[in-house]
């Protein structure tokens, strides 16, 4: 039987320093960045690999969310070297002269270390009613039919994994996260607005028509820059603004 060996030469130890945000609600200390040194040659290439290696070998009290390790669940969203992203998709920079900084998603309440409170985010997502609403049920035995062109309109919208990287990178969302819905939720709102099978389009647009929910977007564009699934919330938001404006004109025309 063939024996397999993993490499015959020893790899040199390549140590990189990581400064990781730590805060424990149980003790009264202030949050701080703790330093961890990791040998990159005995570790996977992604930031998540590094974090799990630290948790496994150095400090098991490190708290972080993670699940799929392949960029589809959105659990490991965090701020790495100043940019929001998924830890499982962010490659570690090989340059060991640079220190890497890992922090939780910005301007979110921290539960512990890298875990943040997502309740507000989820509540906002719930508020846009992210499900199909119809006035009449489909023909019995038949599905809600949709043409290929109409289905193509949902591309770039349905893939949102609700990781919150975009919303937590938006300064407008930082300053008004209680009232402004944020790019992630607005992208998903648009997904339901332009779904041809949904009958409540006008209602959905009217629900967004206030001072804060939609119009706190000032096209800063951080959202599109950080989306780990390469979606474009800023484009979706401008489309919503156009639709709301058009609806507004329609309303004026009928009342004038």
């Amino acid at each position: 039987m063939q024996q397999y060996s993993v490499g015959t030469e020893k790899k040199p130890v390549v140590e990189k320093e990581f400064l990781i945000y730590r805060w424990d609600p149980e003790n009264e200390d202030k949050p701080k960045y703790e330093s961890y040194k990791v040998d990159l040659n005995s570790c996977g290439p992604m930031m998540l690999d590094v974090l799990l290696k630290i948790k496994d070998e150095q400090d098991s009290t490190l708290a972080l969310r993670r699940s799929c390790r392949e960029g589809i669940c959105g659990s490991c969203a965090m701020n790495i070297d100043g940019t929001n992203g998924l830890a499982c998709l962010t490659r570690v920079e090989k340059d060991v002269s640079k220190v890497s900084r890992v922090a939780p998603l910005p301007h979110m309440f921290v539960v512990k270390d890298l875990v943040v409170d997502m309740s507000n985010f989820y509540a906002q997502y719930k508020s846009i009613k992210p499900y199909l609403r119809k006035t009449t049920p489909p023909e019995p035995g038949k599905e809600n039919l949709q043409s290929k062109e109409d289905r193509a309109k949902l591309d770039g919208l349905y893939e949102c994994i609700l990781c919150a990287c975009c919303s937590t990178s938006c300064p407008s969302y930082w300053w008004a996260s209680d009232k402004y819905l944020g790019p992630a939720v607005l992208l998903n709102a648009y997904r339901w607005i332009i779904d041809s099978r949904d009958d409540f389009t006008e209602q959905r647009l009217a629900d967004l028509d206030d001072q804060y929910k939609l119009y706190r977007c000032h096209t800063i564009n951080n959202c599109t820059a950080v989306c780990p699934k390469h979606l474009q919330p800023s484009v979706a938001i401008s489309k919503i603004k156009q639709l709301v404006a058009a609806k507004g004109e329609g309303d004026v025309a009928t009342t004038a």
Binding site: P25, E28, F109, D117, S119
Partner: protein, 75 residues
């Protein structure tokens, strides 16, 4: 001052809710939860705000109509 009022308001709300959720034993649990953090420095705003948020969430869970009462191991 605002922070103090928020804490007192949370305390009052919790005691009010405890009346319908098992009465005096629940009120005792509420008081114990608050007593545990009596020592927190009044200047430690971030800690107090964190505890307020935590308490509000716990209160929301308690308020749910499906919750009948809460008990702890009497040890």
């Amino acid at each position: 001052m605002g922070l103090q009022r928020q804490v007192l308001s949370l305390y009052r709300q919790a005691l009010r809710v405890s009346r319908d959720k098992g009465g005096e034993p629940v009120a005792r649990i509420v008081r114990k939860e608050f007593e545990e953090f009596r020592h927190v420095d009044r200047k430690n705003f971030s800690r107090i705000e964190y505890l307020l948020r935590k308490g509000s969430k716990q209160l929301e869970t308690l308020k749910m109509s499906s919750v009948k009462k809460i008990t702890t191991d009497a040890s």
